[in-house]
Symmetry: C3
Subunit: 344 residues, 3 copies
């Protein structure tokens, strides 16, 4: 599979500078790409790499066009453009249809003729698998669950009963969708389990990273809207809503009943407490704890700084006495004021 720059630009737009007949067979990084490979520059911080690259061609923004004489495609969003080129050169493998004899599919499950079910997968009664979907080895699709068309469940992904995934999802290994939310009530020194009778409802074009967990609703559903992208080891509690096109990096935790808007971006290991509401277009920095609702778009941060251990120990000791320090500053201010006013 190979395409000329001209063929690429005719598909995805952009302007060609240099030889349009250069043949591209694969993508690469500026540092390591060689003959037949195309690289990209999106972050100005890596400009030095552009001059040194041995790539056959590059994708650049207009302001970097003059930094190289390589054959290049000039466009507004080089990283997204690169994504399209890489998808062209690296199409997702097609599922050859069929149910492996070592899969276990219940008699009442509805498997689309073009779907593929691999060895060791289990699809329970009343479950549906859409056209072209590929259920990997050892996956589990519970009773009454529905997987839309064009989905890929990688090996050992788990979907509990009655949950729903829309079209074109990519669900990685170890994902658990629809386990019980954490609903317990304290009574007479014991915990009473609250049955979790809601479901998980997932829209179209959602990606879910390895070992991420999304709990079913306690009563109503947990909802992940269209186009949401979740990295690995994320936890979404029961009854949350994650708005369309929101992206979350690894280790993000969202406690129960929190509503997150559309087009939000949540950095790695951020924690959003329960029963909050986050409006659209909020960016939450990595390692930040959100303990209040956010009603204004913008960037929110709460990362505690690290330092060499001795400097950390020296400064952090005073965190434990900040209120006292503030009291002393107030006393000094008052004392000086008394002096100034002559009452002293």
């Amino acid at each position: 599979m190979a395409f000329t720059l001209a063929e690429i630009a005719s598909r995805f737009g952009g302007r060609i500078a240099g030889d349009p007949q250069v043949l591209i067979r694969q993508v690469g990084t500026l540092e390591r790409a060689g003959e037949g490979q195309i690289a990209f520059l999106a972050n100005p911080r890596y400009r030095a790499r552009l001059s040194a690259t041995r790539a056959a061609a590059v994708i650049v923004a207009p302001d970097a066009e003059a930094l190289t004489t390589k054959p290049r495609i000039v466009c507004d969003n080089p990283y997204a453009y690169f994504g399209h080129v890489s998808q062209l050169l690296n199409p997702a493998p097609e599922a050859s249809p069929g149910v492996d004899p070592a899969a276990r599919v219940a008699a009442g499950a509805r498997i689309a003729p073009s779907a593929r079910i691999d060895a060791g997968a289990v699809v329970e009664e009343g479950a549906e698998i859409g056209e072209g979907s590929w259920i990997g080895a050892g996956c589990y699709v519970g009773a009454g669950a529905a997987i839309g068309p064009g989905c890929r469940l990688h090996p050992s992904a788990i979907v509990y009963a009655d949950c729903r995934i829309g079209a074109r999802a990519v669900v990685h290994s170890g994902v658990v969708i629809g386990a019980d939310g954490f609903g317990i009530a304290f009574e007479a020194e014991r915990w009473v389990r609250i049955p979790q009778i809601g479901r998980v409802w997932i829209g179209d074009d959602v990606d879910i990273g390895a070992n991420t967990t999304i709990d079913r609703g306690a009563i109503d559903d947990t909802v992940i809207e269209d186009g949401v992208k979740l990295d690995n080891q994320i936890q979404i509690g029961h009854n949350c809503r994650v708005g369309a096109h929101t992206a979350m990096a690894g280790f993000v935790g969202v406690a129960g009943s929190t509503d997150i808007g559309r087009h939000c971006r949540v950095g790695a290991a951020a924690i959003i407490l329960g029963h909050l509401s986050i409006c659209d277009r909020v960016e939450i920095s990595a390692a930040t704890v959100i303990s209040h609702s956010i009603r204004k778009p913008g960037t929110y941060t709460g990362m505690f700084p690290s330092a060499e251990h001795s400097a950390w120990a020296r400064n952090t000791a005073y965190v434990r006495h900040l209120a006292e320090l503030a009291r002393r500053v107030r006393a000094l201010e008052k004392r000086l004021q008394q002096k100034d006013s002559g009452h002293d």
Copy 2:
């Protein structure tokens, strides 16, 4: 399945106000419940929802009884009461006994006649599965492991050799019980593995959320006592003890050899370091790091506050200079004291 309020109250107590013959078929939320559904009010913050609800009946505390004229059950602990009602209306599915032909059960494993083992599950030599227990698809129960009666292991739960789970456990998908603790010794610039020869010992009525991991002891056992409730993606290190009826929210991490008391509550993403001792009835807030033993019941918190990014950046810069700021305040105090004492 349907019950009148009168039938419900005769089972679980409480006092009925309004029509005791209202028929209840399902639970619901105050916002969405409709005909045939019962909702509850536990958090005074949601009182406004009570007047607007279209639920057929509600469960309320005495102080909220007058806020509605709906048929209602008045009781001291509406949330726990709701749990009992929901369990009545949503009984856990019964396992139809039997070993699926696509399960692999070793000749020397002891499977109770009323137990169920699903397709793809593996039960090794010497393992025991108790009466009425249900081992889901793709689960693994290692050699010599024991699963008590009435347990539910959801698909792909893993129990390593020689570990023990008591009665009525609910173990969700992706849970790993009994993997090696993190025991390594440094020698000659290399790590030496310390074999982990202890086990995991889990009491009765324990729930374990999806993808949680509990490591086997290095030498002695890791112990989870009766009634402990663990949410998703928790990590319990080797040789920990978690005392009876303690509950932990998602992402909690407990490092090795830490002893946690009974009736503790640990908030989401809290981290408890190793070799510590936490007494009974300690509450640890979400996103808090515990680095010292706790000997007094109470609530402990260490959440770093988040803010709009620019405010965070402005304030946090001074965290790195707190010791210096404190020194300057001391110098000011001394200077003023000198002035006051006339030594200046």
Copy 3:
């Protein structure tokens, strides 16, 4: 299996004090070891346990030799020595070679004659399994993946296509190696997936704890070098390098494209942001966020202190006003200076 102290010392060195003919059958802790068991003292904090122990023998450092009259082995590194003794007494179970009839091995996979593949495991086309390696129940080894000799993949470990694991790895249950890195580009209010075409390359003698995830590279590979030890629930992002003999405790997260040196130690729940470089021999404390590259060996910390809730609330309120507090201190300093200089 039993060894005298003399036999043990002839294998692993050290000096015997007391009866060299004591027979040792198992290891134990100072508190619980009894007849036939050997314990160790590495942490001076536990010296009191040494005098009380009922162990048959102990392993101690020279400075603790005189604290007991028990038969003992005196050596420089009692914990590592203990590790060797425990490995001797608790050898890893040998895999009896063979492919279980309920495993699914592709025709073109190359399985070494001495390897073992358990029930429900799937090994795809072109994959290789080395001599003596043991692929547990329900594991998945993708097309073209290579597992070196002497490896142990515990049940339900997942290795995606084309990834490579060196010799003698221990990979625990729920581990996912080679899932897609989190590569997405924003365009026209939607996320574009960047195909992740790199692999994961893992060296020799690497241990990987339960439910840890290591993502495949976006273009080039993600690399884990020889002797790395990873605890449970760690996340390593795409294109990271983890240098040889680095150890990471549970919940550590490393975002994409970060380069970590050799012989580093990373404490539990530490987060290392993306595109950073950490030099060799860096120690990062538990619950610390690293947001800048580190170029000097040493210990780095950023743990926010916890306290009783009311003290925390009192002090933390001032964190939000630190810049203001610093401004007030500056104003006081200026005011006093004016007074001192007589300009007032």
